[in-house]
């Protein structure tokens, strides 16, 4: 039996989503930009928010979800308090970025795109931050670490304990 779908959102969050959609004239073709702005505000795109965007733009939720899962930039899980990004661009990659990433995965027990249960750290990879001279590069929050070696990973994490 098909049940009525109910989406619960706080008033101010709904208002914000409507503001963002309105700023793009509720144009479905602007979906990617709208999701971009929405994620910028909320940090991530949980189901409730995708539902609200779909409703406002008068498109199907399946369509919004398709875009969110297609582009790796969009995420449905909240980022950690200290988001960790490992650069996997060519320069960083050839200088061992994958081993750094593996070390973070091991230390935190996370896969790329996941967040620790305590919400402290999240792990993501990105493509080139324009600091190839410092390869391999790791970014935690706003702080950039250059020439990182696998042995440095423990020390970096310790800074945020």
């Amino acid at each position: 039996m098909s049940t009525t779908i109910k989406i619960e959102l706080r008033q101010q969050d709904l208002k914000k989503i409507h503001e963002i959609c309105d700023s793009f004239n509720n144009e479905p073709l602007e979906l990617i930009n709208i999701l971009h702005k929405t994620q910028e505000h909320f940090g991530y795109l949980p189901a409730e928010i995708q539902d609200a965007v779909a409703d406002k733009l008068n498109i199907s939720t399946a369509q919004v979800y398709g875009v969110v899962t297609f582009y790796s930039f969009f995420t449905m899980t909240p980022k950690g308090k200290h988001p960790i990004s490992i650069c996997m661009g060519t320069a960083c990659y050839v200088r061992g970025a994958e081993r750094i990433l593996d070390e973070f995965k091991k230390e935190l027990g996370l896969q790329v795109g996941q967040t620790t249960p305590d919400g402290k750290f999240s792990l993501s990879s990105l493509r080139c931050v324009g600091a190839c001279g410092l390869a391999p590069v790791v970014i935690v929050g706003n702080k950039t670490y250059g020439r990182v070696a696998p042995d440095d990973v423990k020390a970096i994490l310790k800074e945020y304990e």
Binding site: S2, L9, Q11, D51, A54, Y65, G66
Partner: protein, 592 residues
């Protein structure tokens, strides 16, 4: 018309500018293999994402191979459809598609009727290099009341997505994820039951693989048949008789009514009845409702709920409950013929043969998958006992007949049992778009005017155009009728009703393109709209050849009212034959 000259496989041909290589080749009788591409001519339905690349051809002077389905012919082009390069590329593409496809063809519900399997056969694939490193996705199976989704078998042809979004405008499913994990399904990979799915089954009707199939109840029905304590009654929908033969190699449009009845008797059903009887009953109830509302409307009553919308299609009912709940007082309250039949079988007929409704099992044979959902709606049961116990699709019945080793093509013909097997020509055209409203007009005219119809065929209501309209002269009163088939077309008419600018008095809607003949439970058309048209013609021919062609002249309908229901729309008729609708629209609720 500007034409250009091209050469395909060393043969010159002149085609209209803008023609794709695929169409130009088909015109010459060259059948370039396709997988994702699908088109239903005259129904304005086409899927050509250019995604699968099976249709690649070599165009002289072009660096890479061209996908024939989306490449337009250029004047003077020299095209080769089976050069060694093309054959190699096609094989490689096919191997890639198969690399992450499950290999359980033996027990796949699509086995023998699968476009992917047929293509592998056609291209002579005997091994799949790379399959050991391909990641086969492991999505859970989603079983809804009507449809089973097995996304590991999805090859991303996106036909279902096109049907659901562009043709039906339902938006229940869309493509998600990337690479090996890419598939098509509801948002958040939820079950169909938690999506706006209407169970129209058009996604199943076009799926080239076993990714989308129907819930199979043939075993449960067999179990009921062998249970000596159960009286098993079967009803067959109009559109089934015009399509079932295809499953046994007969020409599309072959009417197999008599053979179907014999087969059902051989399968062991105790009573073989006809949903057409209930279709006649629907006309009595819906037609009376139309006249009552129309009289109110003509007296200036603003709440008369004109136009009246037909309500016999459960996919359509689901659609307006999800998308237009504010209009849910507008459709007729008459149940669908399937449910009317169940209600009458388990009351009137059960009393007649003196058995308890709990000892009766009602099975319906339907061209439809939404009927499977409809039959399990709680409002269609009495103390937990459903009016219709099982609903089988045309395809399931064919499989059932094959399993029972019945030589269908050589069966003698038999007649439906009485009393619930008697029907009229008005009922059999329920299976076509425009058929319900034509049947209703025939009866409404005679009841309203008290005069005999001078003509019975309202050909202006027939055809395959998505939205049609006609004005019927009912003894001086111009009755405006709208018809839509395909839910996207229905949406156009509904938006007008919602905005208060609809000029119609009555609107017929069928969820599936072509009406029930094109239903989600019918033998697969594999993209050939000529099959749907042949079925439609068969039903109109059946109507023409019936001795009685007006629902209100069905002697067993007259008897049913006399013995049991009283008048159309009487209290008892309302109790048994009418229903109400629900608001199922997704809602945004503000959290406190």
């Amino acid at each position: 018309m500007e034409t250009i000259k091209i050469t395909i496989d060393n043969k010159q041909v002149e085609v209209e500018k803008g023609t794709t290589i695929l169409d130009a080749a088909r015109k010459m009788g060259i059948d370039i293999p396709t997988l994702c591409h699908m088109r239903l001519d005259d129904l304005n339905i086409e899927n050509k994402p250019g995604g699968c690349r099976i249709c690649v051809v070599e165009v002289q002077g072009r660096r890479n191979l061209a996908p024939a389905c989306i490449t337009q012919c250029v004047d003077g082009a020299v095209i080769r459809t089976h050069s060694p390069r093309v054959m190699n590329a096609r094989r490689t593409v096919m191997e890639f598609i198969l690399s992450d496809h499950p290999k359980d063809c033996l027990i796949c519900p699509k086995s023998g009727n699968c476009d992917l399997q047929n293509m592998a056969h056609r291209l002579g694939i005997r091994e799949i290099p790379g399959h050991e490193i391909a990641e086969i996705s492991t999505y859970r199976k989603d079983t809804s009341p009507s449809i089973i989704r097995d996304l590991d078998k999805c090859i991303m042809c996106r036909r279902c997505e096109m049907m659901c979004n562009e043709v039906q405008t339902v938006g229940a499913i869309g493509a998600f994820n990337r690479g090996f994990m890419a598939a098509v399904g509801p948002a958040y990979e939820q079950d169909l039951e938690h999506s706006p799915c209407t169970y129209c089954g058009q996604c199943v009707a076009v799926c080239p693989t076993g990714a989308l199939t129907e819930v199979d109840h043939t075993r449960e029905v067999l179990r009921a048949i062998v249970d000596p304590s159960k009286t098993v009654v079967v009803q067959t929908a109009p559109a089934v008789r015009a399509a079932l033969g295809e499953e046994f190699g007969m020409k599309p449009g072959t009417l197999v009514t008599g053979k179907m009845v014999t087969a059902l008797k051989e399968l062991g059903f105790d009573y073989v009845f006809d949903t057409d009887f209930a279709a006649d009953l629907t006309i009595m109830e819906e037609g009376t409702e139309l006249l009552t509302r129309l009289k109110k409307f003509l007296n200036g009553d603003k709440d008369a709920n004109i136009p009246i919308l037909t309500s016999c299609c459960p996919g359509w009912v689901n659609f307006f409950e999800h998308n237009y709940p504010e209009l849910r007082e507008v459709p007729s309250t008459a149940k669908s013929p399937q449910q009317m039949f169940g209600a009458i079988a388990k009351s009137y007929f059960a009393e007649k043969i003196n058995i308890n409704r709990k000892d009766m099992v009602v099975v319906s044979i339907m061209p439809c998958l939404a009927k499977k959902y409809e039959r399990q709606r709680p409002e269609f049961s009495v103390d937990g006992n459903p009016d219709v116990d099982f609903s089988l699709s045309t395809r399931e019945l064919a499989s059932f007949i094959r399993q029972a080793n019945i030589d269908f093509a050589n069966l003698p013909e038999s007649e439906f049992d009485r009393p619930l097997g008697e029907s009229t020509g008005a009922a059999v055209i329920f299976g076509n778009t425009g058929g319900v409203i034509e049947a209703a007009v025939r009866t409404a005219y005679e009841v309203f005017t008290g005069k005999k119809l001078s003509r019975i065929d309202f050909t202006e209501l027939r055809g395959m155009e998505g939205v049609r309209q006609a004005t019927i002269d009912v003894d001086g009163f111009p009755l405006n009728i709208g018809i839509a088939h395909g839910l996207g077309n229905a949406r156009k008419l509904l938006d007008d009703v919602k905005a208060g600018r609809s000029k119609f008095h009555a609107i017929e809607v069928m969820a599936c393109p072509g009406g029930c003949v094109g239903g989600g439970g019918q033998p697969l058309h594999h993209g050939d709209s000529a099959i749907l048209k042949a079925r439609a013609k068969a039903l109109y021919d059946a109507d023409r050849d019936m001795p009685i062609r007006l629902s209100h002249e069905n002697p067993y309908i007259i008897q049913l009212y006399k013995e049991y229901l009283g008048e159309p729309n009487s209290e008892k008729a309302h109790h048994l034959l009418h229903t109400h609708y629900f608001d199922r629209k997704a809602k945004i609720v503000v959290k406190q």
